[in-house]
């Protein structure tokens, strides 16, 4: 599982530029599925044919990133954000562009307080001395992502882009296992989740599944002075009750609970106010698609050092394998 996750997180793929991730996924699963194709939004849709229910499993390929808006005459890059990038945790980060160029995010040192370190007071230094030199390497509209190579330690994985390559890894693993089932399984690797659950919408419209599960990350409440009530690392995958984009269909949530209990898989419930998942756009598509979610408890979401517990990842794969067989 760590190797699968490593290959996926190492691929460059901010929202709208997911093609490299799609290539990695395609290589991983193309021999194990009946059909694999991309749609106009860049979603990668792999199908394992069957005569039963059409089940859509969705994990998004895109990661958050930065986008160049202007280049000043000294060669410094001003940027906007792609998805939910927090200004303070971007400071001092190394970022990487699609062509492999590295930059460093820093701030205008004239600001009086770090509270004023907004994105518009920050810049990326790529070591260029002039605008012309910078423009030989990058152009306005180019995107960068955080650098943060994957590390396995104490049963945990630390990396950038676990949101949501960990979900992609679970789907890829599941596809490779070829679970015996009559149901028709759609492994859908979606695009542009971080900027408004966009890819999942068109994919669900095209597939019209009978039901759908989004596999994504959820924040934990197990770090010093974090909000109580949220899930903890290592205590099992989280079965979604609600987030800000969807209330899980009660029958799907119950079925997931039954699958977990019958197979002795630990689980937690996810009840959160903030954040959304692909299920948010899927469930209101084409007259309504009953949808739910399985989420991986994750620390420090949207940073260069997200952390998951490998047991939770493996248990999520087991849970989904049991679920799609019903």
């Amino acid at each position: 599982m760590f190797d699968t996750i490593s290959m996926l997180v190492n691929a460059f793929g901010p929202s709208g530029r997911e093609n490299r991730v799609a290539e990695v996924v395609t290589q991983m699963i193309k021999d194990k599925v009946d059909e694999i194709s991309s749609d106009a939004m860049g979603n990668l849709i792999a199908v394992k044919k069957g005569s039963g229910k059409k089940i859509m499993l969705a994990a998004h390929m895109d990661e958050i990133g930065l986008i160049i808006t202007t280049i000043d005459d000294k060669g410094f890059l001003r940027f906007g954000t792609v998805g939910g990038v927090l200004p303070l945790i971007s400071l001092g980060q190394r970022v990487v562009f699609e062509n492999g160029l590295t930059g460093v995010v820093w701030y205008e040192e004239s600001i009086e307080s770090m509270k004023d370190a907004k994105i518009d007071k920050m810049y990326i230094d790529i070591g260029a001395k002039t605008r012309e030199q910078a423009r030989e390497l990058v152009e306005i509209g180019d995107m960068a992502v955080f650098e943060g190579r994957p590390v396995e330690q104490n049963g945990l994985i630390i990396s950038k882009a676990l949101d949501d390559r960990v979900g992609c890894a679970i789907l890829a693993e599941l596809a490779r296992r070829c679970p015996a089932t009559d149901n028709e399984i759609y492994y859908v690797f979606t695009t542009q989740e971080e900027v408004g659950l966009r890819g999942a919408r068109t994919a669900a419209y095209a597939i019209r599944p009978d039901l759908a599960i989004a596999i994504d990350v959820t924040r934990t409440g197990d770090t010093p002075k974090s909000k109580p009530g949220a899930v903890s690392l290592g205590e099992g995958p989280a079965i979604k009750v609600k987030d800000n984009s969807v209330i899980a269909h009660p029958r799907i949530r119950e079925r997931l609970v039954d699958c977990a209990r019958e197979n002795g898989i630990p689980f937690q419930f996810e009840v959160v106010d903030k954040g959304g998942t692909d299920a948010g756009s899927i469930h209101i598509t084409a007259g309504g698609i009953p949808s739910g979610g399985v989420s991986i408890p994750t620390r420090f979401i949207h940073s260069a050092s997200e952390i998951v517990d490998i047991k939770d990842v493996e248990n999520a794969a087991r849970l989904l394998e049991a679920f799609i067989k019903f």
Binding site: P228, G229, V241, K242, H249, P250, F269, G287, G288, P290
Partner: protein
């Protein structure tokens, strides 16, 4: 059933956002008395059909959402107190000392605790209590509480329906059971009128969390005309006069860019002709109601929005007037039946 008793019955039903499965049968039973057929879809939208009696009937959708705001359990602490967060737009300062029902393994009576004034340090006495600092007390210790309640269980407010002077009723869930009552009263009215068109009377789900039921309903029914019924703000002290409407002065007919100009003008004309009390509600944005979804669904559905003024919205003491419910019902029914006979002179085709 009289409108007064119907509203009381509707308000006694629990359908916290996303858990309408608990209430769909009850709503279905109420609609079935006045419909040719009633079905419940996969998301618990309750869809009643009253068939038209004319040639080439068109399909008219009239919807009122039946979900209600509430709370959801997020944790159970070591003393058996329940942590919670809101389902829909709940104002924390209205929650202290509220009676609730926790819909756990079985329904449990509970209260939201509030620290007595004697124990609050003077420097904190003016500070509002935050939602995350409130707890539900069901009287059980941790072990029993965990047996009966699970994270993710929903919580509803307990408040009896009060009958006040002047045909006014107060209680929780008047948003939007007063509109469901109008839907039923409209069906009753239609029993007395011959109407050409098929009328789909739909009680929709999850309006309070993103107009969810309206997305499904518009797609599945593909109506030629959609009429959304919802509540608008009742007039109360300090309320901005352009966004609030006096109770008992009639149904509010919305006028605005997303609403069909042709149908809205015709509807106002009909209200005047039939002497149905009405008020004009200028909605410069998307209205925040199901009308927003209908107007841009499919190829675009011509949409009307009728509202019932409700004071103290999103509290347990929401107040409406039965007279306004009656006006909304009469106007919807008569518009459906008589819209083709209205003098359209001078109206453009938009």
């Amino acid at each position: 059933m009289e409108c007064r008793d119907l509203l009381k019955k509707l308000c006694s039903i629990n359908a916290v956002i996303g858990r309408e499965d608990a209430a769909a049968q009850a709503i279905s039973g109420i609609l079935s008395d006045y419909c040719d057929e009633v079905r419940v879809d996969a998301f618990y939208n309750v869809i009643g059909l009253r068939k038209g009696q004319g040639e080439n009937p068109r399909n008219v959708l009239v919807s009122a959402h039946y979900d209600q705001i509430g709370l959801i359990v997020t944790g159970i602490d070591e003393n058996g107190f329940l942590r919670f967060t809101n389902m829909g737009g709940v104002d924390p300062k209205t929650l202290a000392a509220m009676e609730v029902t926790v819909h756990g393994r079985r329904d449990l009576h509970g209260v939201i605790g509030s620290k007595p004034p004697h124990l609050i340090p003077p420097e904190d006495s003016d500070k509002p209590v935050k939602l995350e600092d409130m707890l539900i007390d069901i009287g059980y210790g941790a072990e029993q509480a965990r047996e009966l309640v699970s994270v993710g269980d929903v919580v509803s407010f307990r408040f009896p329906v009060l009958e006040l002077k002047n045909n006014r009723m107060a209680g929780r869930s008047m948003d939007n059971r007063s509109s469901v009552a109008a839907l039923v009263e409209m069906l009753k009215e239609l029993e007395r009128i011959r109407h050409r068109d098929n009328v789909y009377a739909v009680a929709t789900v999850q309006e309070e969390s993103g107009l969810v039921g309206a997305f499904m309903t518009s797609w599945n029914l593909k109506p030629d005309l959609a009429i959304a019924i919802d509540v608008c703000h009742g007039d109360m002290p300090d309320a901005p006069s352009d966004e609030s409407f006096p109770l008992g002065k009639g149904v509010a007919i919305a006028v605005g860019p997303i609403l069909s100009r042709k149908h809205t003008r015709a509807c106002i004309k009909l209200a005047r002709q039939e002497k149905i009390p009405y008020q004009i509600d200028a909605e410069e944005k998307d209205t925040g109601t199901e009308a927003a979804v209908y107007s841009s669904a499919l190829e675009g559905i011509p949409t009307l929005l009728l509202s019932i003024p409700a004071k103290y919205m999103h509290t347990a003491v929401e107040m409406v007037s039965l007279d306004d419910i009656g006006a909304a019902a009469r106007l919807a029914a008569r518009y459906i039946a008589f819209r083709d006979e209205l003098d359209q002179e001078g109206d453009s085709n938009d």
